[in-house]
Symmetry: C2
């Protein structure tokens, strides 16, 4: 089956032609997500047309299109319920009208982290797992949960995806969501500069000389032996482990998948994070498996493919 | 339908004859749960026999028996997976053999908080709700979650019931579960004395003169104007609100039910806790309803009745 996946990410929009669970062709383009979704739709339409032409296909030959949005998404009504500083105009946008008019094929829409989890479970490193959670360390921290082979969605479409906004420090930093002490507000790429600068010793640390305070510079300076960065990273690992412990306690997974920019240092970080989580979790049945996403660049696209194909089969009554 | 419910609580074993969703007859007996389950089974058998005789019934006329245990329970295999200082011998105990030999009727077994949530949803104050979470403030803090009318259980039977062990202060107090900073370790009846005594000003407070430091004495002294107790209670409310925020973010409920000893002060506390949770939660769809359990003394028994009747209907093919 052939589908188009469009991942509206915070920094890039990724567009792929996906064939039977593999990325057959792929393009990305800057998203300027702070300025909204609609200004970028013409570019998306052009890229999709180019991808199809390059692969000698017409839109009518597609089994469908999948769209991922970083926000709360009602997959049933196919609309965006809430965003946080990215693509704010998506809330009032009719994706149904746009897809019907532009492509006239079946489509699905889903939260990006849910799509990423589906991608890793059905076409990535977690194949065979039916009970999994994912934590994606990007600008913020996205999460998703699957129980018994089904993405957890909940009554108002927000179950599983708010793990970055579980509180791990009730007296901690203010979050952009309005809550206080979310794991995202303590230990994500957007919050690291705020947290680091308020920490004693920052000005004398090597981190103060870095161009950006982010996952990359903290890990690099910690590994290079900068005392401040080492102790800061230790604290961050505690926060991430606390966040993951809450996911394990909430959703009872067999598999825990970590993804996002932080996992560029997976060889260094994953064993440390895993050890802390296992110290904290109460899982008398055994231990969940810990994986870094196998296809972090494409897991959203692959997950959208799975969801689009599933929708196609359901609609057409095809097995 | 007539069922027997047996709620093996930490302090009391409650036994009820439940008829069509109402407690027809009821007895309780001390549990001495630290000494295990098996020493109390003879007493349970006697009480059940007495209840039946008093109501002119035989065991054979029952539609089944429901059993609740404070621990991780595999409802499918009908065994207890893990306990925490209460009824530790339940882990190796064959409830199937005991019920078959003693009563010879169908039975179910479930975690006590899950049963309590089912009781409130099907026979208590939350009737009509299909998406609900419950937090029970007892010696520890028990929780349960329901999504789309189904109790959430998860792959290893622990989804929903570990909300007391979500971390709300990653650098907080050690918990009996081995984790650190669980909401239960910061703000439950067993942890209050530890937390209070380490807090500056305790020795000069009125709380220091109380027989016990517990929910009751903290609330009473706070309401009587003791400065220490007031500020301590404020902090506890923050912890409870953080724990409930995590439940709302995890399970996306329409209804939040609070129960347990703390809710003896529901008129005073529930509005305060609710306000804090609503400040913290990200729920663009609206606001969940907050309720104190309508039948806190009997919600476990009524939930067991629901689960037993459901099992009976399934087994017998009766609608």
């Amino acid at each position: 089956m052939d589908t188009i996946s469009v991942d509206f990410g915070g920094t890039f929009i990724k567009i792929g032609l996906i064939r039977d669970g593999h990325v057959a062709d792929f393009t990305d383009t800057p998203s300027y997500s702070g300025k909204g979704l609609t200004p970028r739709l013409a570019v998306v339409e052009t890229i999709v047309a180019e991808l199809l032409e390059k692969n000698a296909m017409t839109a009518g030959e597609l089994n469908g299109i999948g769209i991922a949005i970083p926000g709360l998404v009602d997959a049933t009504e196919k609309r965006v319920l809430s965003t946080n500083a990215k693509y704010n105009d998506a809330i009032n946008f009719s994706f149904t009208r746009w897809v019907d008019k532009t492509f006239n094929v079946p489509f699905i829409i889903e939260n990006d982290a849910r799509a990423a989890l589906a991608g890793e479970v059905f076409h990535g490193g977690a194949q065979g797992s039916e009970d999994a959670v994912m934590m994606i360390f990007g600008t913020g921290i996205g999460t998703a949960a699957m129980i018994n082979g089904q993405l957890l969605r909940g009554k108002h479409h927000q179950a599983g995806v708010l793990g970055g906004h579980f509180i791990t420090d009730h007296a901690g930093y203010m979050c952009t969501c309005g809550n206080k002490g979310c794991v995202e507000a303590q230990a994500s790429n957007w919050s690291l500069p705020i947290v680091a600068r308020e920490r004693a010793g920052f000005n004398k640390s090597r981190l103060a000389d870095a161009d950006h305070v982010d996952y990359k510079s903290v890990v690099e300076n910690a590994r290079a032996g900068d005392d401040f960065s080492e102790s800061f990273l230790e604290d961050l690992i505690e926060h991430w482990a606390a966040g993951l412990t809450n996911l394990v306690h909430a959703y009872d997974p067999s598999t825990v998948i970590l993804s996002g920019g932080l996992m560029k240092s997976k060889d260094y970080l994953l064993p440390k994070i895993k050890a802390r989580v296992l110290e904290r979790t109460w899982t008398p049945w055994g231990q969940p498996e810990f994986l870094a996403a196998e296809k972090p660049e494409h897991s959203v696209l692959l997950g959208l493919h799975h969801l689009t194909v599933t929708e196609y089969r359901k609609t057409k009554g095809v097995l």
